[in-house]
Structures are given as C-alpha cells and as structure tokens.
C-alpha cells in the first residue's frame, strides 16, 4: 500500500485540484489495493474497473479545466445496498443473484455529481440485517484490526465491508446505511468515523429497503471533516423519495472546527448498562472530560425509555421488512427456484434465497402484523417509539448534544455471537434509539482498549442540527488525537 491511500479525502481532493496527481492514478492505486486485500478481508462484492477508470478520466478532464466539484476524483466504496447502474447489486443476498440495476440510487448519483469516482461494492449483512457482517451470502468480512491473540474479529455490521475498506485505507470514504446502528457500530469497531444524519436528510431512493421508517444512508470516513464533506455531497431533497426532507442542506463542513464553548452536553444515565466493560466507561468519562476542557457544560440527563428501544425496534423493523421483502418473489429479478405451482415457486425461491436471519425477521414481522396480534405488538411498539422520541425532545430542551459510547463492547471474535440472536441484537443498544427518533448521530474514534482495539463515542443532536453534531464530533476527535491504525496483514 502506498502512502497515497493513507491520505484523507480532504487531502487527496486538495492534491487532485492542485494537479499534483491525476484521478486516474488515484483510481488505479485504490483498485489494486482493494483487489489485493480481497482474499484477506473479503470486504468487496463487485468491481467494475472500466466504470471506475471512465469516471476517473471524466474527473481528470474536469480537473484539468479547473472545474472539479466537492470530491472530484476521489474513489468511493459503495455498500451493496445502493443501486449502482450496471453493477451487481445484491444486498449481500443470494435472492438478488445476478441483479444489475438499470438505474442509480439517489445517494450515489449525488456523490458522482459531486465528482466521486465509483470504486467497488462492499459486503454487508444480508439485507442489512445483522451486527457482525456474518449474515452476508458471501461470508463474513474480516476486520483489519485483529484480536490480541491474532484472532479474526468482526468489523461490525451491517455495513462491515465499507467500515473495513475505510479502516484499511483502501478508499477515501464509503457509503453505509444505518437502520439500528449499522453505520455507527461498525465505525466504532474499526476506528473510523460514521454518520447517520436526520431521517430524510439523505434520500432512500434506489437503496434496497429494509425498514423504511428507520433506514438512514450515510458516510464512513477517516476524519470528522471528511464525514462532513461526504454527508454534504450525499444530502438534499429528492422528489423520488416521499420522506426526503424539503430542507436546504447547511454547510456541514464549515461546522467542523467551530468552538464548542458554552454548549450543553447531556450524559444519559441509562447508557450505563450492566456488563459494560470498564474501558468503555473510561472512554466515555474521557470524552466528558475533553468536552468540559473545551468549554462545554456537562449535564446529567435521563432518557427513561432507553431499555425499551431494542424490543420496540425488533417489532417495527421486522414488520416493515416483512412488507418490503415481499417483493422478492422470483418473478421480476433475482433468483427463481422451480416448484409445482406458483405458490411453491414463491416459497421455494424465498427459502433458497433468504438466509436464516432474514427468514427469522420476516417471520417475526409477519407474525406481529397478522390478524389478532397487530395491536398487542405492532401498535404498542409504535407507541413506545413515540415515548422514545419524547425522551429525546425533553432532553434537548436542556442540552445541545448527547454524548454516549457507540457500542457496548469493542469488536468481538467472528462466530462468538452468531448462535444467539438476542446477544447479537444487544450490540445496537446505544445506537438504535437515534433511529427510532430519527435524530442525527455519529460515532467518532476515541481511543484503544487494552487489546489495542478501537472504541467509539457517539454524539446525538436535535433533528436537523447536524452542525452541532459535527462541531462536537470534531472537538472529541481533536482531544482524542486518535491516529492508531491496524497493522497491515492483508
């Protein structure tokens, strides 16, 4: 790996604009680094070299004329949930084998409009259902960070491939989607920055749906500033998504580096959960101290319904998923398995095409929506969701931002939780509340644990106030001075 790929997005775009290097050179470098790492990390699901090089050449033309856009010429990795025209898009599921969209997702289209160069598709938990990338049809992704005894660890999930690619310096940024923590938890596990904006800030059009009222596309980046640049490049109203917010996009990048003096930072007592490693608690305390030193006022707050967020999520998300995934019937795209009649074709296709976790969630969703159970489960969960939103509304009357750990542990060994669905679900205990409420949240690397593994801190702010989130995120980043990188073994 050359030093070129170690640069941040901000640094490489500066070099490209100064014509110190060409987009084609950068693209070739990134392609060969990704391909060389694939057998070790298993982070990628598709490449299209011709497309990458054609887009890089187009960027070079623009750069030569001094017309480069925000991220002109920077290779970006795309989670396999986003439709990229003409490139295999499978949500890491067998049921979408061979699917090549004839259209482009709005988020990736915006990235390309802003000069981004398509680099590759990244692996993920099947249909974004998982917290370890182990449910991908193409097998788990290996975290570039190894355990203390050299064991393979999960990069987190569901956006594990994107997190691994950014952590291993194989690209300058990547897209992810966050339905219950699928950007922030892998970001914490890989020492990268991961952002989920306000619900509706980034369009869901052309992103394969999991749970529509909870799905948030967003970026993975090496630095807070890079994450602001990428979010800037992918945000904005999209008439094709009826839930896309008709709001102007603020200057996120300008917020990075602004003073946090006088900001009130909430510390919710409910986020001190049983069995949380002391090191997470310590990292959190350090974060509190850093922000205090930067002039913030620390306020103890309560989010009393926090412990009900995950069970509510595991009704709402599977219910929406069972409806969204009804479209995979083997008729119009993807896998089709034979059967003696039409129903048997549906049933055999879906049995062969979906993995166990996806089947489990479709079944839970089907059950909670079925006659006689709707009120007891689905309706109640939606009311609990309102309670969680009210918790945040009340907290944000007193504070400007909330600081919590991003995940209840550091990256864990592959296979260590795959037999226990609920143990796996508990990974999202700190992140899922922001999805239910639709408020912006990000994970910033805060330090290393005793095994040398990264830990992340989460910053949550009011709806539409990503600017405060970026301010506080940058202050944490600054104070943490996190420069650790996994030792290259791939």
């Amino acid at each position: 790996m050359s030093d070129l790929l170690k640069l941040s997005l901000d640094e490489i775009t500066t070099k490209l604009k100064a014509k110190e290097i060409s987009a084609t050179e950068v693209a070739k470098e990134a392609l060969s680094a990704c391909q060389a790492a694939q057998s070790a990390l298993n982070a990628f699901t598709a490449f299209d070299e011709d497309k990458t090089l054609a887009m890089a050449a187009a960027s070079d033309e623009k750069l030569a004329k001094g017309e480069g856009s925000l991220i002109e010429g920077a290779p970006i990795a795309i989670k396999d949930l986003f439709a990229v025209e003409g490139v295999s898009t499978t949500a890491s599921s067998h049921i979408l084998d061979g699917f090549k969209p004839t259209y482009e997702s709005s988020v990736s289209a915006k990235l390309w409009d802003n000069g981004g160069v398509f680099l590759c598709k990244t692996s993920m938990d099947e249909f974004a259902m998982g917290s370890s990338n182990e449910t991908a049809f193409t097998g788990p992704v290996n975290n570039p960070w190894k355990g203390a005894n050299g064991e393979m660890l999960t990069p987190g999930g569901s956006s594990g491939g994107s997190a691994a690619a950014v952590a291993a310096d194989l690209c300058y940024g990547a897209t992810g989607t966050d339905t219950g923590g699928s950007i922030r938890q892998p970001a914490a596990f890989t020492g990268t920055v991961g952002v989920k904006a306000t619900y509706g800030r980034t369009s869901r059009w052309g992103t394969i749906a999991f749970a529509s009222s909870l799905d948030h596309p967003g970026p993975f980046a090496k630095t807070v500033k890079d994450s602001a640049i990428l979010l800037q490049a992918m945000s904005g109203h999209d008439p094709k998504d009826s839930t896309s917010l008709p709001q102007d996009v603020p200057d996120f990048v300008a917020a990075v580096g602004q003073s946090v003096k006088g900001l009130k930072i909430g510390v919710p007592k409910e986020y001190r959960v049983d069995g949380m490693p002391a090191e997470i608690e310590e990292a959190w305390q350090k974060g509190i101290d850093w922000l205090k030193a930067a002039g913030c006022e620390i306020v103890d707050i309560t989010l009393p319904h926090t412990k009900y967020a995950l069970p509510a999520y595991y009704i709402v998300a599977p219910a929406e998923a069972s409806s969204n995934l009804a479209r995979y019937d083997g008729m119009r795209y993807g896998l089709r398995e034979d059967g003696e009649d039409l129903t048997a074709v549906y049933e055999n296709t879906r049995a062969a095409g979906f993995g166990h976790e996806v089947q489990r969630r479709i079944m839970i969703g089907t059950y909670v929506l079925s006659a006689g159970y709707y009120d007891a489960y689905y309706l109640r969960a939606q009311k609990v969701r309102t309670r969680i939103l009210q918790d945040f509304d009340q907290a944000f009357e007193k504070v400007d931002a909330i600081l919590t750990p991003s995940a209840p542990s550091a990256a864990f060994a592959l296979g260590s939780k795959s037999d226990d669905p609920i143990a796996m679900y508990l990974n999202d205990v700190f992140t899922v509340t922001a999805n239910l409420a639709g408020v912006p949240a990000m994970s910033v690397p805060a330090g290393l644990d005793k095994d040398g593994l990264p830990l992340g801190l989460q910053i949550i702010t009011r709806a539409l106030d990503e600017e405060t989130m970026f301010k506080v995120g940058a202050a944490v980043e600054d104070a943490a001075g996190f420069t650790a990188k996994p030792q290259k073994w791939w």
Binding site: P239, Y308, M363, G438
Partner: protein
Amino acid sequence: MSVTADDVRRIARLARIAEPEDRLDTLTGELNGILDWIEMLNEVDVEGVEAMTTPVKFPLPQRVDEVTDGDCRDKVLANAPKSDEGFFVVPKSVE
C-alpha cells in the same frame, strides 16, 4: 404470548417461505426467545400515546400529478429470470 410449531408453519406459509419440517422446532424456539424478550414492552405506559409511524415532523410536499418516468420496457425486463416478447414469463397461475 408464545408460538407453537403449528403457528410457525402458518406464519411461514403467510410469508411464502418453504420451511422444512425439521427446522420448525428450531425456529419455534428462536421466535419464542425473541417474543419473550419483546414482552418487556408491556411495562411501558402507553395510555393516550399516539403511535409513531415516521420520524418526519414536516408536512411532506406533494408533487404534481404527471408522468415523470416510463417508456423503458427493456430496462424493466433486463433482470427478469425469464421474459419473452416484452413480457415477464411466470409459472402458470390460472387453470
């Protein structure tokens, strides 16, 4: 509330997933584990609370009712497992 293997067979049928008989017991156990855990929600006072269907707090714009897309039959068919003469070919469903 808990489910039986019969319930799971019925749910699988509703979801159009062919679950082999030998997986029903495992699935029943897994689903009951999740449903037991979810029971916790009964502790929450939701009296008079409105159900939340979306985090969007703004009135969403309606677009003009006009055709903005279409005339792309070949693109629509491009990923079909089976197509012929501009149509999807599906298993016989009407006798």
